[in-house]
Every structure is written in structure tokens, then in C-alpha cells.
Symmetry: C2
Subunit: 132 residues, 2 copies
């Protein structure tokens, strides 16, 4: 049976209160900083569970870290991520949605899950870089 513990709640809330993606390590640090004695392993487990149940999205950062994000809607959405400052913008991707399923189907694939994330430089960072 699935039990409710304050730890799981803490992780869920911490994730809800976070803008954009965050790594398990960072989330653990945040919780600790807030005075929570939650264990690192527990944070990993909770995040894994949330991702499995669809309550959180997860993706791999370019340097191999797993990043998580609270997923309010059950609906699928994608992200525009600044390579420099890490800010994210949620984007709708209906066209891509349809495309992904069609292409997967054309090749006999089932259970298609797509990873569509656009990395770039946000307006702000573009300016900063140009000023160098």
C-alpha cells in the first residue's frame, strides 16, 4: 500500500514552489536549508515516484543530471530553456505532439514518449553575451 509521509509531502511542496527545473541534489539542499532533516535517498525516491505517477516531469540536463519539475496539468507540455541562466518558459506543442505520434506510428513504434526541449539563449543572456 502507498503511505503518506511528511517527507513525500515536503518533496511535493518544494517542487511545487520551484520555478523551472531542479535537480534532486538541489532540491535536497533547499529542503535542508529550510530546516528539514529529510534524507537524500528519500528525495530521490520521492522524485522518482512523482515522475512515475506523472505528477512531475523529468528530463536529462546536457551534463547528465536528472532534472524534475512539478507538472500541474496532466497535459503534456515542453520547455524552452536558457542555456546560460537556466530560466525556463513553458511552451505549447500541439503540432509536435501530433507529429511525434504520427512518426512513431509510421515506424511501428508504440508507447511513444517524446523529449522535445529547446535550449537557447534567452533575450537577457543574449544581450550579456553580445556585450562581452
Amino acid at each position: 500500500m502507498k503511505r503518506n509521509t511528511w517527507q513525500r509531502e515536503a518533496v511535493r511542496e518544494a517542487l511545487d514552489g520551484t520555478e523551472g527545473f531542479i535537480s534532486a541534489q538541489a532540491l535536497h539542499s533547499t529542503l535542508h536549508a529550510s530546516g528539514s532533516p529529510i534524507g537524500l535517498a528519500t528525495v530521490y525516491r520521492a522524485l522518482g515516484d512523482l515522475a512515475t505517477t506523472g505528477e512531475a516531469d523529468s528530463l536529462q540536463s546536457p551534463d547528465g543530471e536528472a532534472l524534475y519539475r512539478a507538472c500541474s496539468t496532466t497535459g503534456h507540455h515542453h520547455h524552452l530553456i536558457c542555456r546560460n541562466c537556466g530560466s525556463t518558459v513553458e511552451i505549447a506543442a500541439d503540432e509536435v505532439e501530433a507529429w511525434a505520434h504520427r512518426v512513431a506510428g509510421e515506424h511501428g513504434f508504440t508507447r511513444a514518449a517524446h523529449v522535445v526541449d529547446v535550449f537557447g539563449l534567452c533575450a537577457n543572456c543574449t544581450r550579456l553575451v553580445a556585450a562581452e
Copy 2:
């Protein structure tokens, strides 16, 4: 200055002779199996270089491994990857291409590089899983 070594050539050729994506570790094993005494660190370096110069594509597998693939054309393309057996199908993504740039532009982003990969179960593995 950039020097040419047989090691770099070996990695390039091994990658060319590989279907689909392969991890650095796997490529190193393959090379060793072929009798090459090349070092693991060197394989990592060579792959990193190839990815930087655009001679190879790289992506992160769902479990955090970096995967590489020889990139014959300079043209951009995407992949349909079987979660189970790892086989890949190269897919055209013109629509997505245009979409990614448009969306990035709408939010003031520049230098957009997108990661569009579809993970699923190929026809074969779908059958295997169903038979369980």
C-alpha cells in the same frame, strides 16, 4: 595545434561503422574487442571532440548515459529510439525544425538548439513485452 593520431581515427571509424547510437563505454569495449589498446579516457576525449566539431551527434539516454552517433550530413535530423533494444530510426523533422525556431523567436531566444527525440517501443519489442 590539432594533431592527427591513429586513436582519433579509430574512434571516428568505429563510430562510422556503428548503427544507431552508442555510448562511450560501449565504443571503447568494441574497440578493445577488435584488438585496439586504445584507452578509455581517449575515447571520451575523441567523442567529445567529434561532438564539438559537429562530426557526431550526442544525446542523453533516459538513464543518464551520453550516447553518440556519426553524423554524416551536416543536416539536422532526429531519432526514434527503442527504449528496450536501443535500435534507432532516423527521422526527418522539417516541421519540428520550423516550429522550434518560431517558438524560440517568439520568446526572444536566440541560438536555438533543440533536442527532439522520440522514445518508444519498436514493433519487435512491443510484441515481446505483450507476450510476457
